[in-house]
Symmetry: C2
């Protein structure tokens, strides 16, 4: 699969790029600056190994050629970045937004959040994109450090939100290919109003225990993934 990671030069996006490439996919790092994207891709290939298929380019070019586009950018830049890629994402495109509206966006603390006008950052993104784009939201609670440690299995679950069940399953299949990472269907896209804030809670936990990679596993069922499967 061709998978774009818009904001793939950042820690979370870079880690996700490494994991997707390791799973055998063509990962396309998008950056505001195409050259920085290409430089990050070279670095990523070095970490994953020689036969990894990773390229780097501008955000819009990355999104234009991908089957699935992940967006991993800070909240303060999120709206602008969605405006820069909206023309290349038509009806049917699958997007997975990982933005958390941390209060750092307005000079506040990383364990606090602000409330986006649309309810969640993911719904703000959906409001910017063309109608018909299949929007999902996930990866908010997945540690960038853990993603980047590509030789270690993960120890957390992705809470995936979205109104389109098939789009969630397609994104979920990519998640299942990352060792020990599972996906849990968290409900409609509006549930991102809750899931996005859970990043700030993990930052509060990390801060209290002086660690960097706390996460969540969901209990109550042995197998998660597609609820209809």
């Amino acid at each position: 699969m061709d998978v774009a990671v818009v904001g793939g030069t950042g820690k979370e996006g870079f880690g996700l790029t490494l994991r997707l490439a390791r799973a055998g996919h063509h990962a396309i790092i998008g950056s505001r600056d195409a050259e920085r994207g290409a430089a990050s891709a070279a670095k990523a290939i070095e970490q994953v190994g020689g036969d990894a298929r990773i390229s780097g380019t501008s955000n819009a070019e990355a999104a234009s050629s991908a089957d699935v586009t992940f967006v991993t950018v800070p909240f303060e830049g999120q709206a602008e970045i969605y405006r820069s890629i909206k023309d290349v994402l038509g009806a049917g495109s699958i997007v997975c937004d990982a933005t958390s509206p941390l209060a750092t966006a307005v000079g506040g603390r990383a364990w606090h959040v602000v409330r986006p006008w649309h309810g969640s950052a993911a719904e703000q993104a959906a409001a910017i994109l063309a109608s018909g784009v299949r929007m999902t939201a996930g990866f908010h609670t997945i540690s960038a450090e853990a993603l980047q440690a590509i030789d270690e299995p993960m120890d957390s679950d992705v809470l995936l939100c979205g109104d389109d069940a098939d789009a969630k399953t397609i994104v979920g299949d990519l998640i299942d290919q990352i060792p020990n990472l599972r996906w849990v269907d968290a409900g409609l896209l509006s549930q991102a109003r809750i899931v996005e804030t859970m990043t700030a809670l993990l930052i509060s936990v990390n801060r209290g225990y002086k660690i960097r990679d706390s996460g969540f596993r969901i209990t109550g069922r042995d197998r998660w993934g597609n609820p209809k499967a």
Copy 2:
């Protein structure tokens, strides 16, 4: 220890009562109606076994004689119940609030939330009580069904919020006595603004998978509890 469960006739509170009594504590069920409290206590003794120390009375009387008071009531009645117990909770009293501001309080859905004026239900409670009460918040993500199945170990973690580290540790020690339940310090009381909403997220997950007892385990550390220990 003498532990009150205000709202202990409800599912969550009744489950907590069973677990605390099983751990050897004197559990005092509080109810708006002292007779209903006493009837619930009789039912609880039957379930835990003959030597269980469980009594039932009014909310205010329960809270007045306890070392720690848990409050497990629906959001729509929470403020009124805190007003009914505020006179018996003086400076130094330890309270653990388990309220989630589910939108059901205003006729909405259980997987949606409303935003309390004070930020969280726990902060609303603290604003009602005398200053000096040591307020904590936890148990929002702990399934009532799992608590009530007293012969089964738990499979989730309590995210505990509060500004008083010693109060969190005292409540946390009670949590640790419930088989397989752990407590994680989630930070200051204001972090309840996030933790309280996670109930609605679990209800969304339960709804999607047609289950009743999903929960969270926190990953990233082998041992949780007091971060300074």
